[in-house]
Symmetry: C2
Subunit: 520 residues, 2 copies
């Protein structure tokens, strides 16, 4: 396939042709093991993509009565995928390819293949199975515990998960701090020390900002809670995703209990009672993720260079669209008239709507939180995760520690664990180390958007006019297309001139919410 | 998993328990290879089911811009499936299991596993690949040829396919007639001689019946061509499928270009301009297929005993529901009032509607044909396929041979090959030997329905009342549940008391259409 494509491209004159072929054959000869390696990895990666279809289908289209079969299908495909992805042959070929004469792109490919291979290979199969069984049970226990507001019944499951996750971390790299190893599943390009520094700086600014906002004059948002017929909302949301450049020839927008971006860049949203803006911002958020997937290099499909850099960078794309575009005055200047008509908001002004969708109210629930307090939810979880894995706090102490921090950071009291430590699914699914990427994404989004504003003349006017071509092109070139070619730091530095840091993010929040709440 | 289920079932008294366990352990010991065999086959079968999801998704939900990836995904999964299904280990275990002490069900399982294994194993991989490439090209060529009405441009592709199919047949069984081997892919339980005899008998009755009908007073069907809003049709069709017992907790009804039943019993229909009855009868037809899939034994999922007996038997289920129920007076006695209201047919009488949906008009196009002339389309294709594979006619002669038969059987002239030999996709997809199962299905449907009428008292009244419980139970027990436990002949004999034969089918057609057209 690849050879065919190459031959299609080669020049028409006979001499040039021969030259081209000679060059090409030399390349082949120099990267024989590399080519074989990529072929095997791609084969496993394609099977991996089919696993994503099983998951997408389960969450979007699967009739509920086929869930048991789905378990069998997922397990069978996961086993085959694991076998392919951890074959000794791949291990051999990595070593051999490393001593071939590779160009920079190929070197990056081998580096990332090796990272994945070692992580997948080093965890004993027995441990993988035990984690599967434990999380299935823990998830059931968590659902019941949340329902009954009974942390004690979930605690033993969480203990077991922490124990197994520590074993996993040790199997992968016994030299490193276990939490650092776990975090690397989702972001391997920013160290734990760096994260701690970043979150410390953010916390120092956010806690007083939240306090100041709470003392300022509050905005009204009841217009967001008027009923709008579902069919109107669906049409509007589909229009929104298309409007900002999500490509429906490669994707689709469906509904699901929790919005997500899955298989082949397909996105979902959710229509809730918590305000009509929730579905819209969800759609824009997921469309940001979806465009990242759509912008990956098709020729690398199934390999690391055809995958998103990290969960943090992925989140930078969704947050950029949700916060910097979808919650901006410029965006709604161009779209509010349409919304007014479709959502019957004729009595609401643009200014009022803008204030409402940006209203800051400390909320017990992370997923219902605004842009400012949301990040404090993440920092809290990051601190607790690290302390748990380090053994500095015990599972039993979690509710107390949780509630203390919510009080300290958001000035609210947690009435029960269902609205506290039991609210998130992540820990029951052994997704430990995932949370920090949400906040890192917001940080990078601010850096990337600040750079975009400098590079694209009149970006605000363009956003107002619904012209997202240049912004999409900028993101596609700087962030999407490279896949995992660069490390996270390199990627952000190449895109913005600076490594990930808090400056742009803090400026953005201070400015936007300073204005919104008339702070000095 | 299976052991756990067994233990759940065992008796509570201590002595009985010990006895039970001993018996059970003896069973295990006696069927060690058998158990291992079934485990491997099931694993491959589950991967096979995921291939069906890829196909369902492609035809129903896939955005068009991801078709190239889909090619890669299907090829990768097909390769892994083939590897699993043809492993030498399975071959060894078949021999070993055959000499174990198996019960009848287990013997049937091994017989069917062996059948599949040999068919999959004996065809050289090179030939499989060549067929894949050839059919991909042939399909493209066929689409263009049909569009341009240019059989000559398709002929070389068809020649190649016939050549490869003959090689395939020879690889599988060089002793048998190649067409017989090909037919066995879709119906292995009725020999070619038997089919020839069956189709001969049907033809002898149908040709004069069609002629008599053509001379009788014709019925009006223009009320079927009034426009009904799509959303109303969708609601009505979904209601219809539910009404006859299709289980939406395990399935779903979507739209696709060609109606089909795929992955996990999911069905589709199509809303066309050829009359509002087309979508309804399609839905009922596919729901018949879907209920067969839903009635298969869940514990055998992934193995032959969890699969439909054959394409003929599958078609018997769709035809039974479409023709014997969905086109019956009893059914519409119970449903017509609702249709009248939803489809605005207040000026149409039940009798007129019944006559319209059963109108017999020789049609050049198979899929637009009525119940009577449809079967002649099949017989024609069966005759031509056999002659082609036997070399008794050449590809070049096909249009002439086709048109001659259409004239002879249906008394109409074929204006061009697009409305003749080029109308079906099957040959371009190397589905040679598939057509006869459509007619065999109609035949068995008549036998099964005749028996159901005898076994279920007041069946017509129950159909009128929308009470399909007993009919569904009858079909589930007699036809669905056994999967491939029995051969086709055994299955039909167990269900109806007779092996497949033309009696019931011919009686049914003569009676129904004799009455409809006032024939003597």
């Amino acid at each position: 396939m690849q050879i065919v494509n190459h031959l299609k491209m080669y020049p028409q004159s006979r001499i040039n042709r021969r030259k081209y072929i000679n060059n090409y054959l030399t390349t082949i000869a120099m990267t024989e093991y590399y080519n074989k390696l990529v072929e095997l990895v791609k084969d496993a990666g394609i099977i991996g993509s089919v696993r994503e279809l099983l998951e997408w289908d389960e969450l979007v289209t699967m009739p509920p009565g086929t869930v048991e079969r789905r378990g069998l299908q997922k397990a069978a495909l996961a086993a085959h995928h694991h076998k392919l992805a951890t074959s000794d042959k791949i291990g051999e070929l990595i070593s051999k390819a490393e001593s071939e004469r590779l160009n920079d792109e190929q070197k990056a490919m081998v580096r990332e293949i090796k990272f994945d291979y070692e992580r997948e290979k080093k965890v004993p199969e027995q441990l993988v199975k035990e984690l599967q069984i434990t999380t299935t049970q823990a998830n059931e226990a968590w659902e019941k515990a949340r329902e009954k507001n009974d942390f004690a019944s979930f605690a033993p499951h969480l203990k077991k998960i922490i124990e197994l996750e520590k074993q996993k971390a040790k199997a992968i790299n016994p030299e490193k701090k276990p939490y650092e190893v776990l975090v690397e599943d989702y972001e391997s390009g920013i160290s734990l020390d760096e994260m701690r520094k970043i979150f410390g700086e953010i916390k120092k600014q956010l806690v007083p900002l939240i306090e100041k906002i709470s003392k300022a004059k509050q905005h009204e948002d009841k217009m967001l809670h008027e009923k709008v017929p579902l069919v109107k909302q669906k049409t509007f949301n589909e229009m929104l995703a298309k409007y900002i450049g999500y490509d429906f020839t490669k994707g689709r927008l469906d509904e699901s209990t929790h919005p997500f971006t899955g298989f082949d860049s397909r996105i979902t949203t959710r229509y809730t009672d918590s305000g009509v803006h929730m579905a819209m911002l969800s759609t824009i958020h997921e469309a940001g993720h979806g465009k990242y997937e759509q912008g990956l290099a098709e020729e690398h499909f199934g390999t690391p260079l055809g995958q998103a850099r990290s969960m943090s960078v992925h989140e930078s794309q969704s947050r950029l669209w949700e916060n910097h575009v979808g919650k901006s005055m410029a965006f709604w200047k161009g779209m509010f008239a349409k919304l007014q008509k479709e959502y019957k908001m004729q009595n609401v002004s643009l200014e009022q709507f803008y204030q409402a969708i940006n209203k800051v109210t400390p909320n017990l629930i992370r997923v219902d939180s605004d842009e400012v307090t949301y990040t404090m939810h993440i920092i809290l979880r990051f601190e607790l995760e690290e302390a748990l894995i380090d053994g500095k706090i015990q599972v039993e102490d979690l509710p107390k520690e949780w509630n203390k921090r919510i009080k300290e950071y958001l000035h609210i009291d947690v009435p029960d664990d269902a609205h506290g430590v039991l609210q998130d699914i992540h820990w029951s699914a052994a997704l430990i180390g995932y949370f920090p990427t949400y906040a890192l994404g917001s940080l990078m989004a601010a850096q990337i958007f600040e750079t975009a504003k400098k590079s694209i003349s009149g970006l605000e006017q363009k956003i107002e006019a619904g012209d997202f071509k240049e912004l999409n092109k900028f993101l596609a070139e700087k962030i999407h297309k490279p896949g995992r070619r660069h490390t996270t730091k390199e990627l952000i530095k190449l895109a913005t001139g600076e490594e990930p840091n808090t400056q742009a993010y803090i400026n953005y929040l201070q400015n936007k919410f300073g204005q919104l709440y008339g702070l000095e």
